[in-house]
């Protein structure tokens, strides 16, 4: 395939490599598309829908998630428009309303992608009635706390634990609004799994669910990840990372 293949992103020619999705090509070209469940080191997931864009092309006029949409020559992609940003704002509001997010008392404040995205999209209120779900924390493990109240169900820990750590410590259960994270132990407690402090799964949580104990405020507020610059700039810095999600457990889907 030629190096010169491009598509239009908000009217600008954006080059792509064969096999790249729209978000991968955009981030590589220094163009930010807001996202939450997409992580440059993992296969695109397509669940949070924050990266939704409007696609026009031959015979097309539809919305699609930029993380799973294959880049194609001649696509016309609209991303940074009032209509799309309004949709993204609503989706982020939905995530805030769905869980129990109390930023002022959360130790992840300043390091949280959901909070940072809220600022970036100018989300001023939750906009919806809060669900206030009952989600007990799991403090069973001596070194790791699981606070499910903040889970946005992006499945990054599920993917990291299976694909990189080869452990499958995390999985999802339930469905619909009752969907929730579970851990791989008969007791249902993290202490009884083979999770380790060095696991990739512990690094990838974009919000404050998986927390290492006793280090919460080692980094003071004001000097945290999203304090000096917004998530849009951070995401571009993170973009060109090689995928590490190559290790697969035996039970992982029989792809490839």
């Amino acid at each position: 395939m030629s190096e010169s293949a491009t598509f239009l992103l908000d009217g600008e020619e954006t080059p792509f490599q064969p096999g790249q999705t729209v978000i991968q090509a955009a981030l590589a070209a220094g163009r930010y598309i807001p996202h939450l469940c997409y992580h440059p080191e993992f296969k695109p997931h397509g669940s949070c829908k924050v990266c939704t864009v409007k696609v026009n092309g031959p015979g097309l006029g539809r919305f699609a998630a930029a993380c799973t949409l294959p880049a194609q020559a001649g696509l016309e992609v609209a991303s940074d428009t009032e209509e799309i940003n309004d949709l993204r704002r609503t989706l982020v509001q939905m995530l805030f309303a769905e869980g129990n997010h109390f930023c002022p008392s959360c130790e992840k404040s300043g390091n949280c992608a959901l909070q940072a995205l809220g600022y970036d999209l100018e989300v001023m209120t939750a906009g919806f009635r809060h669900f206030f779900p009952d989600r007990p924390v799991d403090a069973s493990h001596p070194d790791i706390l699981l606070d499910f109240n903040r889970c946005i169900l992006c499945e990054l820990c599920v993917r990291a634990s299976c694909e990189v750590d080869d452990k499958c410590v995390f999985a999802l259960s339930g469905r619909g609004i009752d969907k929730h994270l579970v851990v791989n132990a008969e007791s249902g407690l993290l202490a009884d799994t083979d999770v380790a402090l060095t696991d990739k799964a512990l690094e990838v949580c974009p919000v404050g669910v998986i927390l290492k104990k006793r280090v919460g405020f080692a980094q003071p507020i004001g000097r945290r990840r999203y304090d000096p610059e917004p998530i849009s700039a951070q995401a571009l810095r993170d973009a060109p990372r090689p995928p590490t999600g190559a290790g697969r457990c035996a039970a992982c889907e029989a792809e490839e």
């Binding site: 669940s47 998630a65 919806f128 791989n184």
Partner: protein, 609 residues
């Protein structure tokens, strides 16, 4: 009886389940379903044993149990009674029946009785709308539930009579075929369609594809509702590179209000399997699955008998009809209560034993389906039509119906009409004609193709059943002038919230919000702000949901707001806004704890205003 490990399963049952599924992670759902059926729950010790035996992480086993409504880790009693809760069941009084049964059995809805005997709850439409209200008892379907029949059922439960020993007539299901056309009057004997396909030539690839050409010439379109060209689908699958090709029959008939596949699978099973085998021949597939919804568990044994008969007649197996190299066989997989598995990629995930979450597409199943191999997924009715075309040819078929919609359509007619049941009509038939023949009078509205379809009012009854006008998977639910279309939409909104797989944000959260907003209006706390909120949620779902479930979850509210807005508005307060938080509702727990329900235990918003 039970083994000493405490998982509650008789050792012989374990041995049988393990023999079928050990070492096969793709069989996880089937193994769990069998354990559930044997134990009425999946005991904790069984979770670990299944994980171990099949080689699946324990957390993933829990994930699958949590996804399917019929699988439970919590015991729900030796008798689990589930009331079908489609709008048609409601119109026939299922809520009163449910309350009466709970009272008789001394049990609260959704909870197991204190003695561990029984639980009573609702479930999504069980596909018996023509003979409702319907229930499932330990997975076995019972139709026509009257107060008298319910009395008998309650006595049987209280006497602890095993369900297997209940009188057979309680489980009688009727077919209610009201109008037959080319499909229901097909006149084919088993093997006729296959012999016709083989007669077109079996020597070269081109000759084998001759039947595929007939399907294309017939202009057959998928009967699941979307109407994709069956011939093009088969051709894409045939041409896709792969080690092995699969044919999958989508018998996960979950759309509320539809039940035609139930009748086809019961009275026309040979034709269904014949169509699948024709497909296998045309695309070069060697293996097939029939994915049968869990609600149709009662069809499993008869379907397996039909498969065995066809194997004995050389219509399945190796060298079918003596044709060397024509090898094909069919397995039946059961679902376990998940509407979303009717979406073809979710169905494939479920066939692989996983949570039924729709995949990202592309790639599509025709190239990357079951186990990432080329897979053709078609509706039950589509395979029946394909068998007819294989026998009679494409030109014969396309002469019936309209230019864009060839052939006939089976309609599942239910609701307010004298003769609910199955009506086979040529495409192009008007809604008015169907209403006349089924004996519907004073009709207010018709829900075409179930909640994911479209709701039309009397000004549109001259519209036609056809892909170019009113496409449908078959549900045809009639509402007369006495019905409240707001309540219809609210029932459907509850359905979508219950059935959302929860994968994507807009559907997971949006369907729950839509349900809460409709409930707020129903409770008398709605304001014009809430109608605007519904429109906003509809827009978000439509723009960003992952699959058809989310896209169409807003249809019932959109359609009824457009056509029956006064039914919403008369419930609204004149205020512009009222908080969603229900102050009086927040006291409900306190009222139950104190056993009070007098006026003093309520906050009256009305009197304050």
């Amino acid at each position: 009886m039970t083994n000493p490990r405490g998982d509650g399963l008789p050792e012989a049952a374990w041995a049988a389940i393990l023999a079928r599924h050990a070492g096969k992670p793709h069989h996880l759902l089937q193994a769990l379903r069998e354990i559930q059926e044997a134990c009425q729950a999946i005991p904790p010790a069984a979770v670990a044993r299944v994980a171990d035996a099949l080689g699946v992480p324990l957390a993933r086993v829990r994930g699958v149990i949590g996804f399917y409504a019929f699988l439970t880790e919590q015991p729900l009693g030796r008798y689990r009674v589930l009331f079908s809760d489609n709008i048609t069941d409601r119109m026939l009084g299922n809520q009163e029946l449910l309350a009466a049964l709970c009272e008789k059995l001394w049990v609260e809805q959704g909870r197991m009785s204190e003695d561990g005997l029984v639980s009573v709850d609702t479930t999504s439409c069980t596909g018996l709308c023509d003979q409702g209200p319907a229930i499932l008892v330990n997975g076995r379907a019972i139709a026509h539930v009257t107060p008298q029949r319910l009395e008998r059922i309650a006595k049987l439960i209280l006497a602890q009579t095993p369900v297997e020993a209940w009188p057979e007539e309680l489980f009688a299901i009727e077919d209610h075929i009201r109008r037959r056309d080319i499909l229901l009057d097909h006149g084919l004997k088993p093997g006729d369609a296959l012999r016709a396909a083989l007669a077109r030539g079996a020597e070269s690839q081109a000759e084998q594809a001759a039947t595929l050409e007939e399907i294309k010439r017939a202009n057959l379109r998928g009967r699941g509702g979307a109407g994709f060209s069956t011939g093009l689908k088969w051709e894409a699958c045939r041409n896709a590179p792969g080690k092995i090709r699969y044919v999958v029959c989508n018998a996960d008939e979950g759309e509320p209000g539809t039940f035609k596949d139930r009748v086809l699978l019961r009275a026309y099973a040979d034709l269904v399997f014949e169509g699948m085998t024709v497909c296998a021949y045309a695309i070069g597939a060697s293996h097939g699955f029939l994915y049968l919804r869990g609600e149709y568990r009662f069809l499993l044994e008869p379907l397996n008998e039909t498969l065995a008969r066809r194997r004995a007649a050389k219509l399945l197996g190796s060298a079918i009809l003596g044709q060397a190299g024509f090898d094909f066989d069919i397995d039946i997989h059961l679902g376990a209560g998940a509407y979303v598995c009717g979406e073809e990629s979710a169905l494939i995930e479920s066939l692989e034993g996983k949570r039924g979450v729709p995949r990202n597409r592309p790639p599509y199943p025709v190239t990357h389906g079951y186990l990432q191999q080329p897979t053709t997924v078609n509706n039950v009715e589509t395979f029946c039509a394909a068998a007819l075309i294989a026998r009679h040819g494409g030109d014969w078929y396309r002469a019936i119906g309209t230019a864009k919609s060839a052939g006939t359509k089976l309609l599942s007619v239910a609701g307010d009409c004298a003769r609910p049941g199955i009506y086979e009509v040529p495409f192009g038939t008007t809604v008015r004609q169907v209403l006349a023949v089924c004996g519907a009078v004073d009709t207010l509205a018709v829900q075409i193709s179930g909640p994911s379809g479209v709701c039309i009012d009397a000004s549109e009854f001259d519209r036609r059943i056809a892909f170019e006008d009113l496409p449908t998977a078959g549900a045809f639910t009639v509402f007369d002038q006495s019905r409240d279309m707001f309540e219809v939409a609210r029932n459907y909104t509850h359905f979508f919230a219950h059935e959302s797989c929860g994968f994507c944000t807009p559907c997971r959260v949006g369907t729950a919000m839509l349900k809460a907003t409709m409930d707020k209006i129903a409770d008398g706390h709605g304001t014009p702000y809430d109608l605007a909120e519904i429109e906003k949620l509809d827009r978000v779902l439509h723009q960003s949901a992952h699959c058809g479930l989310g896209h169409t979850a807003c249809n019932p509210t959109l359609d009824t707001l457009k056509r029956f807005r006064p039914m919403y508005e008369r419930r609204l307060k004149s205020l512009d806004f009222e908080p969603a938080f229900d102050l009086d509702g927040a006291l409900a727990t306190a009222r139950r704890m104190t056993g009070r329900d007098d006026a003093g235990a309520h906050l009256s918003m009305e009197s304050e205003a």
